[in-house]
């Protein structure tokens, strides 16, 4: 980027937030971005069928084989390449996870706006409803829904999104209450802008976007964890389809025979992916805080 003289002076006075960030936070963000890009990349690859081996390509001559050059993560009990199944496993949570994120962000923003901007009775009602959702532990509610309807991953993720609404809403509400008395909101209202425009453009878009991005990042980490946990324990994504939880579950049957990598590689992938999204969320949080400090 080209800098004019004055700009450079300004930069010298107040370095870019990225530079002011602690080194650890910068490393967190970089690591998180790498993970996010890898997950999206794997998803897109598996979508167009760009896989190292065929997804269901059984090879009975190479069952439970240790990692090698041909199969970097080894093969499973039916001779299928584990790396291939890990890549394809992103399909199990990616779109459902996005659905959960969208529900949480849209619902949370709406509830936050209703509570923070309008106040009064609407505030009481929304916070009552959100508290009701907050009172039920997530997995218990998920099991109730699984018992009532079928254990479909999209259905599960709709509920996960709904259970995240209170968190997002409380952040948005806090932000709105903080901004409400500010001059620019009053100025916008005095200019005759409609409530909707003030809410969506001046509050949500200009001031809550960082918050929403962080929540989306954390939401993807959570989607991975929930999909893996439910699949591991038998609800969620079912066998012929690849999923990270299924891989660990299948691999655990062979640990006693000394086959460690089968479960360990998918489990490590789960852990590192979740770690990436959590670190990205926290790092971005600190970055946006620095930015706000000016």
């Amino acid at each position: 980027m080209r800098h004019t003289f004055t700009q450079r002076k300004l930069d010298a006075a107040a370095p870019h937030p990225w530079k002011r960030l602690r080194r650890m936070d910068r490393a967190f963000i970089v690591y998180g971005l790498v993970v996010a890009v890898l997950v999206v990349g794997c998803y897109l690859c598996s979508l167009v069928g760009w896989l190292p081996y065929q997804l269901d390509g059984m090879d009975l001559n190479h069952m439970n084989e240790a990692p090698s050059l041909g199969h970097p993560f080894g093969t499973d009990n039916m001779g299928r390449d584990i790396l291939t199944r890990i890549i394809a496993g992103t399909q199990a949570f990616f779109l459902p996870g996005l659905l959960a994120i969208v529900i949480a962000l849209v619902g949370g923003s709406l509830a936050g706006v209703l509570g923070g901007y309008y106040g009064g009775f609407t505030d009481k009602l929304t916070s009552y409803l959100l508290n009701v959702i907050d009172s039920i532990p997530k997995f218990v509610l998920l099991l109730l829904v699984i018992a009532i309807f079928k254990p479909d991953i999209y259905f599960i993720m709709i509920i996960v999104g709904a259970t995240n609404i209170p968190t997002v809403a409380s952040f948005i509400k806090g932000k709105i209450l903080f901004l409400k008395g500010r001059d620019f909101i009053e100025a916008a209202a005095a200019l005759g802008l409609s409530d909707l425009r003030i809410i969506f453009k001046h509050i949500l878009y200009h001031h809550c976007l960082p918050l929403l991005i962080i929540q989306a990042t954390l939401g993807m980490g959570e989607a991975i964890l929930i999909e893996a946990s439910l699949s591991y324990l038998g609800f969620g994504v079912q066998e012929p389809m690849a999923s990270w939880g299924n891989l660990v579950a299948a691999g655990n049957n062979y640990v006693l025979q000394g086959v460690f990598y089968y479960a360990a590689f998918p489990a490590l992938v789960i852990m590192l992916a979740i770690l990436g999204f959590y670190l990205l969320g926290d790092g971005l949080n600190n970055l946006f805080e620095e930015e706000e400090r000016g």
Partner: protein
């Protein structure tokens, strides 16, 4: 005397709010059930051949006649009398089972929260009060790793390690470890406490709040006149944040308990929820939802009690 009265008034208003929330929870669960494809009566129809009169009698007995609202009111009335209905699977009343499993889950949960605190508090204190050495970065990376380790995998590793060490492992299915040695209850507690995903958040919250309080003027005054900073910062900078964050994390810990109980075959609320979800045992799972919500609300009440003891302003309303 007057103060005691104010305390009572504050607490009773909190209790009323909690009861209202519990009613909301039961209504929500009930409405979800109403949206189910087919009716709960199908369970009975499938269970065996049943005549139309018998079905009507069963409806009468179970209180599933009339409109949705009437049904809910009947159900809520029964709940208030402590009647949680009968399990469709075993035919036994649900309440005794719920009480036993809730107690077992409570042990697990409280233990796990203590473990979380044991991990989180030293790290938070060290990285706030200690020098900004490399150690604190390393510790928070470890906390993040623990938080993102999938519990089912960590639990399996622990079970594997223990079964390898302590007794020969023959069966396909893991036995309930607690029945082998009561001390094995510590294993699910440690796994749940260490990796339910809240450790890093707890650390971050305590760190934020403590360093905010340490920047306050009254701490500077305390430091200037040479009195103990720790003593002045303890209530607002440590006690309240810890109570606050732990109360907020109760639903997460209970949620994690579902996974851990399943992995360790520990017969608590989560395990029961799992079994009854598989059997579509609606009465049991509704009861579990309500009991879990009761635990969450109790934790919230406990938090408010601590607030009350620490912060006299609350009663001034």
């Amino acid at each position: 005397m007057k103060i005691a009265f104010k305390y009572l008034r504050y607490l009773s208003s909190e209790i009323v709010i909690s009861l209202a929330l519990l009613m909301g929870v039961s209504l929500l669960a009930f409405m979800l059930l109403q949206a189910a494809p087919g009716s709960p009566m199908d369970m009975y129809i499938q269970a065996g051949s049943i005549s139309a009169e018998e079905l009507d009698a069963a409806r009468q007995e179970l209180g599933v006649q009339g409109g949705v609202i009437k049904q809910y009111l009947i159900y809520a009335g029964k709940l208030c009398r402590g009647d949680f209905g009968f399990s469709a699977e075993t035919g036994k009343p649900v309440l005794p089972v719920l009480l036993i499993t809730t107690w077992r889950t409570l042990k697990l949960t409280i233990g796990a929260m203590l473990v979380t605190l044991l991990i989180a508090v030293p790290i938070a204190l060290f990285s706030t009060l200690g020098s900004r050495a490399r150690g604190s970065a390393l510790l928070s990376v470890i906390a993040y790793l623990l938080s993102s380790a999938p519990m089912f995998w960590l639990g399996y590793l622990v079970i594997f390690g223990v079964t390898r060490t302590y007794f020969s492992f023959t069966g396909e299915r893991v036995m309930p470890l607690v029945s082998v040695n009561p001390w094995f209850i510590l294993l699910p507690i440690v796994v749940l406490g260490a990796s339910n995903g809240t450790v890093s958040e707890v650390i971050r919250y305590i760190k934020e709040q403590l360093s905010r309080v340490l920047r306050e003027d009254y701490i500077r005054t305390a430091r200037a006149k040479g009195s103990s900073v720790i003593k002045h910062a303890f209530k607002e900078g440590f006690l309240i944040p810890v109570v606050n964050v732990m109360a907020a994390k109760v639903p997460y810990v209970l949620s994690g308990a579902v996974i851990v109980e399943q992995v360790f075959n520990y017969e608590g609320l989560g395990n029961l929820a799992w079994v009854s979800a598989q059997n579509r045992d609606y009465a049991v799972i509704l009861g579990i939802v309500i009991f879990a919500a009761i635990l969450v609300r109790l934790a919230d009440l406990l938090k408010n009690l601590v607030y009350l003891l620490v912060n006299p302003r609350l009663t001034a309303r």
